[in-house]
Amino acid sequence: MIKKWAWLIGILAMPVLSDDGIFDEYRDLMGDDNPAIFVIDEGEALWFEAQGPLDTSLERCDLGLGPGVTAGAYARFPRYFEDTDSVMDIESRLLHCMQTLQGRERAVLLAKPYSLRGDLGTELEALVTWLAAESEGAVIAPEQAHPAEREMYALGEEIFFYRAGPHDFSCATCHEQSNMRIRLQALPNLTNHDAAAEAFGSWPAYRISEGLVRTMGWRLQDCFRQQRWPGLRLGSDVSVALQTYMAVNAAGGVMTAPGLKR
């Protein structure tokens, strides 16, 4: 079973030609016009909107740089927060602020954080998009000063190489080698700094195939689905650990999000 799937991956994950500009013409014609710009505005409006039983906005939410400081905050995640004594990704930090500042219920917030087919976008997706735009051009610099943050990196690295599930896949199965692709979609080598920076820095991204902006948290969840792994929970240690691993490998790169992806 293992050998069959490894062989299949070997066939499917074909090395790309060295000058693989196959979609250059496509991207040139698309130009700079990314529908994510609407979602940025939507996210900004949601940040300043009073909601929940406490009828309060998210303006006092502390994303690690002080209450209400949004410029550059996304680029410093995941990071440790004293008030929760945990390392958090940006999505779980936003949920925390929605609970504590707005009085909203966690179970309700977690019921549908990401869009389903036919939706135009969720509140969380829009907020993450705006916050990423607030970090556009910022240097990717996840915090690694706290021991808990470094433990998250170590855990993330372990999970990245951990083979599991019916196909015996790990993240590394698809993302450990350079210049690979599945069909015509390039697979970034997330163990390589430049590729990790380009990949990590371009999420959240407007996905052409869905007409939606998707977040890094969603991307990981969808990878787990494609690997036939158990469902990945938003804000779980596994999710935060993998994001930490990627962000640290990407550190020093530049945030270009929101990106435009197939």
Binding site: F23, L29, L184, Q185, I208
Partner: protein
């Protein structure tokens, strides 16, 4: 009406904001359409039928510059550009876009006012690899240019 799915429900302020915008839009100068939507062309399910509804079989004309990508990352969004130099083909009044293998090939039609360049850029859905058609009407005659665009599957089948 655009909706953001929000499990706690939409706040009143948001709904009012949208109503105000809708109200503003309704008070625009009334539409100046002097021509009727060619509905029969839009609902036609085959290319030949759609072209017939547009007015006949177009002849190929090299004055139409039709730019499409050879291969698209995803068929949901295929960018296209149609330009006509009036020296090569004068008096173009309408430009249509058709996608041969779509369930309904007719995607869009544009009426170009005098003093407007014959220049259209837009993005269309292409259900599968096939020919795209730029059809223009000039002095009551139909001309066209076509190009094939390949549509790919990505990643893990999605």
């Amino acid at each position: 009406m655009m909706k953001l799915t929000d499990s706690t429900g939409l706040s009143r302020r948001r709904i009012l904001g949208w109503s105000a915008m809708l109200g503003a839009a309704m008070s625009l100068p009334t539409r100046v359409w002097a021509w009727v939507r060619p509905e029969a062309a839009f609902v036609a399910t085959g290319l030949d039928q759609a072209l017939a509804e547009l007015g006949g079989t177009p002849t190929v004309h090299d004055g139409i510059q039709f730019t499409t990508p050879d291969i698209a990352e995803n068929g949901a969004v295929v960018p296209i550009r149609i330009e006509v130099d009036p020296a090569a083909l004068p008096n173009v009044s309408k430009v249509s876009v058709l996608v041969e293998m779509n369930p309904n090939p007719m995607a869009a039609v544009f009426d170009i006012a005098p003093d407007t360049e014959v220049y259209i850029e837009t993005r269309v859905k292409v259900a599968q690899t096939c020919n795209l058609y730029a059809v223009v009407e000039a002095d009551g005659q139909l001309f066209m240019q076509s190009r094939e665009t390949k549509v790919t599957l990505g990643g893990c089948g999605g």
